[in-house]
Amino acid sequence: MTTRATTHAKPILSARGIVNRFGKQVVHDKLSLDIVPGEIIGIAGGSGSGKSVLLKTLTGLHEPNAGEVLLNGKAVQSIGAAEKAALFGVLFQQGALFSSLSVAQNIMLPMREHTALPAAEQEQIAAMKLALTGLPAESGIKFPSALSGGMVKRAAFARALALDPKILFLDEPTSNLDPIAASGIDTLIRQLNDSLGITVVIVTHDLTTLFTICGRIAVLVDRKVTVDTADKLMKSDHPWIHEFFHGPRAEGAMNARKTSHGN
């Protein structure tokens, strides 16, 4: 694996003492998480363990009841809109492509808003992003309603990459995809991390994604987070983590990992 993370680098994004409460239900209790530049980190956890809330908290879309999220040492809530657009790229679970715009217009929207590039050049860059995410140029003029599930994910990926963000957040990038499309997305994530050095945060249930491309895995259990490499988490004696990494599905994913590491 060629993830670029250096083990003791200063964190690019760090969550400190996050508390999230909905009514009486506490989802996160003084949770802390450091993300180092250039790594691919997976966030895993059972349904309702607050993965999506954590992602929203990290991106500043949800304000936690207590604690803070720092981006390069600066509170994420205080970062300006243009700066945030250049730093963060988010792939939402359903794609969140704007249905009134074509795919190319979707990709060009952040460029139009935050750069002064002429339209022809924006189109050129949009075509490049499409090719980068493995979409044919013809799909650029299509509208999101005419795309298949896998194409929506790729188009949303291309839009998340529009301004070459430093950190890419992916919410379930492989859910609802067939295995071929899903492994295509996995390859794409790794390729972008290798060539661009983008830090990637993936929220996923997909064990294959967790095992094959994530350098570290953050498991959300008991309202806290346990972060380690897959190998070390396998040896954890926490019952939920043990079950997660040793269930019948985990075995198959481990085999996939061996295959991909053999390459």
Binding site: T2, R4, A5, T6, A9, K10, I12, V36, P37, G38, N72, A82, E83, A86, L87, S99, S102, A104, M111, T115, A116, L117, P118, E121, E123, Q124, I125, A126, A127, M128, K129, L130, A131, L132, P136, A137, E138, G140, I141, S145, L161, L163, D164, K166, Q191, D194, S195, L196, G197
Partner: protein, 380 residues
């Protein structure tokens, strides 16, 4: 590879004022700084004069601190024009290889149709759609009527719980707003009547004007339009959301006819509530008339009540109430029909809801005009 994160951090230390500098002269130039999306225009301008073709041009990029994908695309473009890139840093190599290796095609152009042709195409489409709409309505009205009659013949298949829920939602919950609107419309008519009739000394006839127009037309029209906007749209949205979640398909698979469980209870409920709401609107309209009489004509409520039977008779009330169930039937049918037309996406729920409201209000007014002519001919 290990030097990459350090480089990235350096670039992100002040990422919002990155600059790119072109130095050197002749065929050998040096590019330094950050070649990113924000500096791309600057780099292109600096290199513009250099664009004359020459065989031995080279660009040194060793001093480039950061490079993003648009920057790499720009460098690949130069490379394609015969410029040799020298001193490429290891961490930029992978990115350049990736971007230069892409099979880039320009975005296809959207075919543009001349304006005059667009108008003709729109007209043709409109006529075609209108024909289909009419056929759809006729078919659906037929099916819904047949299912409703079927349900009335076999009362066991009626769903009283569902009907009573819709009666509550479309009827009882609508009472306050409909009462208020009826009072308001009576006041509007009253003021106009007084203003127009006073020069002729006939302002007393305002009472006739308000009472007759509320009972014959305004009461039922206001109620029907309100119900179309309030409940017809709700029918479309409810059934439409069920359609997007495949709940309607689930019913069909279970051998339950959506017409019977979704459409018939709504039609029956609305046919029950709209006449009742209309009667309520009539009463409230007459109360509004009493207020006008008191404040503009100095006619006390008691006098007003004694005058009412002289100016109106049963047929005025009947004409208004007779129309209500007919309007109700069509409002419910159109609402349900558009709900079942929803296909998959969430935006089609919004589109169909708008169509349902527009179409049902249109149909209410068309039917009202038809009734006006009919009652005139038969002399009621």
């Amino acid at each position: 590879m290990t030097s990459a994160p350090a480089n990235k951090q350096q670039a992100s230390a002040d990422p919002f004022r990155p600059t790119v500098v072109v130095s050197g002269d002749g065929d050998r130039l040096v590019l330094a700084g950050a070649l990113e999306i924000v500096t791309l225009a600057e780099a292109r301008n600096s290199l513009k004069k250099w664009s004359k073709p020459g065989p031995s041009r080279s660009l040194n990029v060793a001093k480039l601190d950061s490079l993003d994908t648009p920057g790499a695309l720009f460098l690949c473009g130069l490379k394609d024009k015969g410029v040799e890139l020298t001193g490429i840093r290891a961490e930029h190599r992978a990115l350049l290889d990736l971007i230069c290796g892409l099979d880039l095609k320009p975005l296809p152009k959207v075919e543009s149709v001349p304006h005059w042709r667009q108008i003709i195409i729109q007209l043709g489409k409109g006529a075609h759609d209108a024909r289909h709409e009419v056929l759809d309505i006729i078919t659906f009205v037929g099916r819904a009527a047949s299912w409703t009659v079927n349900a009335l013949i076999h009362p066991a298949s009626l769903r009283p719980a569902s009907i009573s829920r819709h009666v509550t939602e479309t009827g009882i919950n609508a009472l306050p707003i409909i009462g208020l609107m009826a009072v308001m419309i009576a006041i509007v008519i009253g003021y106009q009547g007084v203003a127009q009739l006073r020069p002729f000394g006939g302002e007393d006839f305002t009472i006739n004007l308000v009472a007759v127009s509320v009972l014959r037309e305004m009461g039922v029209l206001i109620t029907a339009i309100m119900v179309a906007g309030r409940s017809g749209s709700a029918f479309t949205a409810e059934i439409g959301v069920m359609q997007t979640r495949e709940e309607v398909d689930a019913l069909k698979v279970m051998g339950i006819e959506p017409m019977q469980v979704l459409v018939v209870p709504r039609v029956i409920a609305l046919v029950i509530t709209l006449p009742l709401l209309t009667f309520f609107a009539d009463i409230m309209g007459l109360i509004g008339g009493a207020a006008i009489a008191q404040f503009l004509l100095d006619v006390s409520p008691v006098q007003y009540l004694t005058r009412l039977p002289q100016v109106i008779d049963g047929s005025d009330l009947f004409v208004g109430l007779f129309k209500a169930p007919v309007f109700a039937f069509f409002i419910a049918i159109i609402g349900c029909m558009h709900g079942l037309k929803v296909s998959g996406s969430a935006e089609s729920v919004g589109r169909e809801t708008t169509r349902a409201v527009v179409k049902s209000i249109f149909l209410v007014l068309v039917l009202d005009a038809f009734f006006s002519i009919l009652f005139e001919k038969i002399g009621i």
